[in-house]
Symmetry: C2
Subunit: 345 residues, 2 copies
């Protein structure tokens, strides 16, 4: 992916912490690529340090090359109202990067318009050709694979992986962030959206990602997690990713104040200690993996509440816990034994 100057389309969502995942991720972890954010519904003039604009015309003043679709809706469908906005971007000569399941490149009208304007439409979730089942090479490479797992989706598993990667690199560890979803791909510039591949090839895609991380020089791989083992919709992706990335260790991510999956009372989150055991038991016998640390998202708690939540998680699981965004990733990286140049299993 060539270097691009991003107009982040956060239409109607710039204030919504859950649905603006792609927008927030790129703004936080690839700020060098962002020039401004668009949300016609917002009254603000800036968003996390970037100019917040209401129209494409306004955005053009900042010289974007590419408009990034910054929302992720349930199931990945495209809100109809977005079409006009996308057409406007294309007419303004911008490439589009899109992370939804609904592909722009399948849309003859948008493709025609893009061809006429000489711009490119990139579907970040489009599966690459030639996927297949795993070969078993995920068990034979020399790197240490560490997978983020969680009690729910959209609680910050990608963020934890990025924070651990950043902290590890700062210690001289040759680590790589392994992107498995549209936001991770938008941030890292490579990857496969494992939730968008043919179901039989989830594990095969995950294996390919891990091997690509090794080819990129990774000795420690922080694999972005997806979904949750007890998520009623996305658990299949989660388990395929577990077996395909064949982790040596897990980091279990949890939003401290959440008690149900996806905000739905029908799906309670079990105790953290049950989740620890469930992940360890579902590991391949060929690659038994242990949960080595708990990463808490304490965003909606105050400082005292956050420290209490960390202490409670440690008491319940007997594992080191911390919120790597709030308190830094040092304690979790210590828990993973990453004090040397290469990973310690």
């Amino acid at each position: 992916m060539r270097r691009r100057r991003l107009l982040v389309l956060a239409e109607g969502r710039s204030g919504d912490p859950h649905f603006g995942k792609t927008a927030r991720g790129v703004i936080r972890y690839a700020p060098q690529d962002v020039v401004c954010v668009l949300d016609s519904q917002s009254a603000a003039t800036e968003h996390e340090g970037f100019p917040l604009v209401r129209t494409v015309a306004e955005a053009l003043r900042f010289g974007p090359t590419t408009a990034l679709v910054g929302v992720a809706t349930q199931g990945g469908r495209f809100p109809p109202a977005w079409r006009a906005l996308l057409e406007e971007c294309i007419r303004a000569g911008l490439d589009i990067e899109n992370g939804l399941h609904e592909f722009l490149t399948n849309d003859a009208e948008l493709m025609g318009l893009a061809a006429k304007q000489g711009v490119e439409l990139r579907d970040l979730r489009r599966a690459p050709p030639g996927l297949n089942v795993p070969t078993g090479e995920n068990l034979t490479h020399d790197a240490t694979s560490i997978l983020m797992v969680g009690s729910d989706c959209a609680i910050g598993k990608m963020t934890v992986a990025l924070e651990l990667d950043r902290e590890s690199k700062s210690r001289g560890v040759r680590s790589e962030f392994i992107p498995t979803g549209q936001t991770g791909i938008a941030i890292a510039g490579w990857g496969i959206s494992v939730d968008a591949v043919v179901a039989d090839f989830i594990a095969g895609a995950a294996e390919q990602l891990v091997l690509e991380g090794v080819r990129r020089g990774g000795e420690v791989l922080f694999v972005e997690g997806q979904g949750s083992l007890l998520h009623p919709a996305y658990s299949g992706v989660t388990l395929g990713l577990i077996h395909g990335s064949a982790p040596h260790s897990y980091v279990l991510c949890h939003k401290a104040d959440e008690t149900v999956v996806d905000g739905d009372d029908r799906y309670p989150i079990p105790p953290l200690s049950d989740l620890v055991e469930l992940h360890e038991r579902i590991s391949l016998l060929a690659r038994p993996a242990q949960v080595r640390a708990i990463a808490l998202n304490t965003r909606d708690l105050d400082e005292d509440g956050a420290r209490n939540a960390v202490a409670e998680a440690e008491a319940e699981t007997g594992l080191p816990a911390d919120d790597p965004v709030r308190f830094g990733a040092g304690k979790l990286v210590d828990a993973l034994g990453l004090t040397e140049r290469t990973g310690v299993r």
Copy 2:
């Protein structure tokens, strides 16, 4: 799917118990649809009571309307040698049903030839349009959902579901077989191949299948299983199917003499009692499900060996066990409590 007269293409595989799954399934459970079997590599003159032919010209004597691709290869790719055979079938005026991941309907040359000959190419694994995540209706219908799970793929989970369905119907139970893979679809004439949908929609597809079974009048639904929770390639499909079909009960299927997954020593099968517990623990808390019986495949054992295997499985798990193909499905249907007109949970 209209009633068709099937030429079963088992090219090079009519003697292979593992890879001829689709051929064997249709021959056993939809014999009324089959007219002959083709395998140019075989010296036999009949296959399970059907004429075995070596050429398409020979097959035409039996008046087929449709050629069914009867093999399932690892990962679902099309063996190149098959192309000539398929072209010959199309030129002979036969429709084609294909259960592999590689779609005939994506092949411009074959599609052109089919159009010229006025025949139809049907990809049984092609996902229907409009799939999405589950709605939660899988928790609110009135039927009893019973999912086949297993220690491995290709050990007879579909067969067990079909045998249980047949036995239940004979007792006056309003049961339905719920097809989730290409062979089940070829047998039942409807269904979705859940291993071929976009990974995020596995559970949503499984929910749709269960609800379709209810619409068809099913009060007890025998859901065809896929893969295995500890299969290194297919476990994601397995877990998505578990959460989407939201079973009230499981039947755990196991091939009595198998100790490793997919014939690969790297992936040992854990003890049956561990698998029982793993399935029960991975159930949604909203729909806790228990393993109610063990279905053993004792095909490769002699009679004494089979009876010993059944006794051992019962001793190990404390659950009723039997081989429904060898000894009849009565004991397993009893174990599920299906003695009344409707299911008992």
